[in-house]
């Protein structure tokens, strides 16, 4: 009886010891993992902080204004351009004749300020609106724009992009079917070159 009891207790002690060690190592593993994750989180957070600071630095209003002046030429909204009610919007100008060369691509990045480089922009006063309301089917428009890539001034932003040092903004236009990434790349390349 006593002997049986001893064996029982011995087994119990061994089992308890084994379990304890097992649990201990399992916990240690998990803790290591937790610490690794924590360290990684810390590193990522530091990285985020640096990137946020850099992003903010790159978005300095002065810098954005300068980039705008060189590449986009956007100007501030004037009171005249803001309307509160639908009645205040004047009737739109008659649509451009379909046979004429496209006034401006509907998805032109920017309407450059009227200058010698943009004679076509003068065809309609509001190229974006008129093009958006243009009844010509979308496919027809794409083909026309595919042709429209050939005029050199449409390409000015694409290949031989070299911003002039003067205040005249570069005319940037996405020409129809050319994917947007192209002109964005071009923009980035321009910025890189300008640096």
């Amino acid at each position: 009886m006593t002997r049986l009891g001893n064996v029982f207790w011995l087994v119990l002690v061994l089992a308890a010891g084994f379990t304890t060690f097992k649990v201990k190592y399992a916990v240690q593993d998990i803790e290591d993992q937790l610490n690794r994750t924590r360290r990684q989180t810390v590193a990522e957070q530091q990285e985020t902080r640096v990137l946020t600071a850099e992003w903010t630095y790159l978005n300095q209003p002065e810098r954005l204004a300068e980039l705008n002046r060189r590449f986009l030429g956007l100007t501030a909204i004037t009171a005249k351009q803001l309307q509160r009610s639908i009645e205040e919007i004047p009737l739109r100008a008659p649509a451009a004749p379909t046979g004429a060369p496209p006034a401006a691509p509907p998805d032109a990045l920017v309407e450059a300020s009227p200058g010698p480089a943009a004679p076509q922009a003068a065809a309609t006063p509001l190229p974006v609106t008129s093009a958006a309301l243009n009844p010509v089917p979308a496919i027809a428009r794409t083909t026309r724009q595919a042709d429209a890539i050939s005029p050199p001034d449409e390409l000015s932003a694409g290949e031989d992009a070299r911003p002039p040092g003067s205040a005249t903004p570069v005319r940037l236009a996405k020409a129809g079917p050319i994917p947007a990434a192209n002109s964005l790349d071009a923009l980035i390349a321009q910025i890189a070159e300008a640096r």
Partner: protein
């Protein structure tokens, strides 16, 4: 003894076996006594252990079960602190969460030359990624045989990455926290700057040092970086155009007292507050850190006529139709009060404001009396330092015995000097229905209705709006009319007091305005220090030619950002709201 005998008497006992003397051979009574003592001690010991184990068990139960998660979180907290990433100083952001100040880990590069294998190669590699270093110097350091030499302090993250990529053994980084202001000088005076020990030395960094250090989350200011930039750009232009010494501007939300923009020029880069420009003398460098808006004490000039008129109208001393004699200069003591744009006739209250008549304002103030003038100025908060979250705040200066001559000069803003911040806070109260809000640089939750003090009646506020609109429509600030935004305001051109007398050449031109006047949302104050007339301004350096056009441009640019819709200024609703009955049908002589 009995037991032993019993064993001996056992007939089955082996012959060689003698039972051991298992019981002490003592007499019965003594043995029982000793055994009793032992037993008692054992019981006592067992009881003691039981109690101790019970205590331990109870404590375990308490920690694990009863206190729930708190014990666990306690443990977790200790560990979290050890791994904490929260920087010493919290970020400061603008009202749109744009980063104005942040803390970055800034590595400094050092080397252990004893570990450097090839000093020539290492020098070449280091100077290839850090070209600003002198190769000779680096080489000398690397062959010095010391165990520690600084290569370069405060690397950018990119430089750190580049150096790491070189993979040279013996190069190490020491990490320190460094305060970065990504927008540079944009809000330099508001945000302030820190010393190398990360203590705030100016601006919000100093005034809210405790909060900046204690906060884990960012501190959000009421500033709008875009508005701040527009202020910066336009006022820089004014300084350039008129060859001025400096300029300042503030934009305030009149309903809450939040400051949307605050600028003082010339300014500095808080990333390098000490060394702005080696060409500058220390005095000039110090001048740059001076915040004109809160620390500049100025005699604001005609802008004060608004306070005179508000006082006279609110106390009932004057009405919109009451006239004052402005036909002759006032001679009092050795002083002469004269008008810059003299009309030489009796002027009504609106005309006094519109033509900016010193004589009329002085007569109006005398009419109201010294006591009333003093109490109204105190109500507007002009006689005590402005309350704002900055330490750089100047005390206003005003005469100690408030004599009649003081009453007259203070009526048009001379003989009292206050900060631009006090002026805009008071004017905000004048146009917003008469409630004075404390100026604040911290963003309030949208729709917040901060407490304020009713300083003038809403009716007076209404009349003052009309007067301010009149100045822009027909008076000295016609160039300030940003069409569509119904601007109203008052110009002030003060001669600066230099060495006890007023210098005609040294002007302080300012404009305080608000828009849209039918229901004001924002007040704006612009000020230019010592402008010089140009051909464009026909030689004038007065407010109407310098800061007023700039203010118009600023309003045109910031109104769409601030969500103020343009209106048709000629529409009946607007004209009726801002009409002055007494002037109706009269031909208004434009200024």
């Amino acid at each position: 003894m009995g037991s032993l005998q019993r064993l001996d008497e056992n007939p089955c006992r082996p012959r060689h076996f003698r039972p051991p003397p298992c019981a002490p051979v003592v007499d019965d009574e003594r043995a029982t006594a000793v055994l009793e003592t032992c037993r008692t001690r054992l019981v006592a010991a067992a009881a003691l252990f039981t109690v101790v184990f019970l205590v331990v068990a109870l404590r375990l139960v308490e920690i694990v079960v009863l206190s729930g998660g708190s014990a666990e979180s306690h443990v977790g907290r200790i560990r979290a602190v050890a791994l904490s990433t929260a920087p010493v100083r919290a970020d400061i952001v603008d009202r749109n969460d744009k980063l104005l100040a942040t803390t970055l880990d800034s590595p400094s590069l050092y080397a252990d030359p004893r570990q450097i294998i090839d000093a020539d190669e290492a020098t070449r590699a280091i100077t290839s990624v850090l070209p600003e270093l002198d190769p000779g110097e680096i080489h000398a350091k690397l062959i010095s045989g010391k165990s520690f030499v600084w290569i370069k302090r405060r690397l950018t993250p990119r430089q750190e990455y580049d150096v790491n990529r070189l993979g040279i053994p013996g190069l190490q980084f020491e990490h320190q926290e460094r305060r970065i202001y990504p927008f540079g000088d944009l809000a330099a005076h508001v945000v302030g700057f820190c010393g190398i020990d990360n203590n705030g030395l100016a601006g919000i960094e100093r005034a809210l040092d405790g909060a900046v250090k204690g906060n884990a989350g960012p501190i959000q200011l009421s500033l709008d970086a875009r508005v701040q930039f527009i202020l910066h750009e336009e006022l820089t232009k004014v300084i350039g155009d008129f060859n001025a010494k400096g300029a300042a501007g503030i934009i305030m939300d009149v309903r809450t007292g939040e400051i949307i923009g605050m600028l003082s020029l010339p300014d500095f880069d808080p990333n390098h507050p000490g060394a702005t420009d080696p060409a500058l003398s220390p005095a000039e460098a110090k001048e740059r850190t001076f915040n004109k808006v809160t620390l500049g004490d100025y005699e604001m000039g005609s802008v004060f006529k608004l306070f005179t008129a508000a006082m006279a109208l609110d106390s009932g001393v004057a009405s919109m139709t009451k006239q004052y004699d402005a036909s002759h200069d006032i001679h009092i003591g050795r002083f002469t009060i004269e008008d810059y744009h003299g009309k030489h006739r009796w002027l009504s209250v609106p005309e006094i404001i519109m033509y900016s008549s010193n004589i009329g304002a002085a007569r109006m103030a005398v009419d109201a009396g010294a006591e009333r003038q003093r109490s109204y100025l105190a109500r507007f908060g002009l006689l005590k330092p402005a309350a704002i979250e900055l330490d750089e705040v100047a005390k206003p200066h005003f005469p100690a015995p408030w004599r009649e001559i003081n009453v007259m000069t203070i009526a048009y803003g001379h003989g009292i000097s206050v900060t631009p911040l006090q002026v805009i806070t008071a004017v905000s109260a004048i146009v917003n229905g008469g409630v004075l809000h404390r100026a604040t640089l911290l963003k309030l939750p949208p729709g917040a209705n901060p407490p304020g003090e009713q300083v003038i009646a809403p009716k007076t506020s209404d009349q003052m709006r009309k007067l301010m609109r009149l100045v822009v429509e027909y008076g000295t600030a016609k160039l300030g009319a940003a069409p569509g935004y119904v601007v109203g305001g008052k110009t002030g051109t003060a001669e600066k007091n230099s060495g006890g007398h007023y210098d005609e050449k040294k002007l302080l031109s300012s404009f305080i305005g608000a828009f849209p006047m039918q229901d004001p949302r924002y007040a704006i104050l612009t000020l230019v220090d010592e402008p010089h007339g140009t051909k464009q301004s026909h030689g004038y350096a007065t407010a109407g030619w310098t800061v007023v056009p700039a203010t118009s441009r600023i309003i045109e640019r910031i109104a769409p950002i601030l969500g103020v819709p343009p209106v048709d200024e000629a529409s009946p609703a607007i004209t009726r709201a801002l009409m002055i009955e007494s002037l109706q049908g009269k031909r208004i002589e434009t200024y």
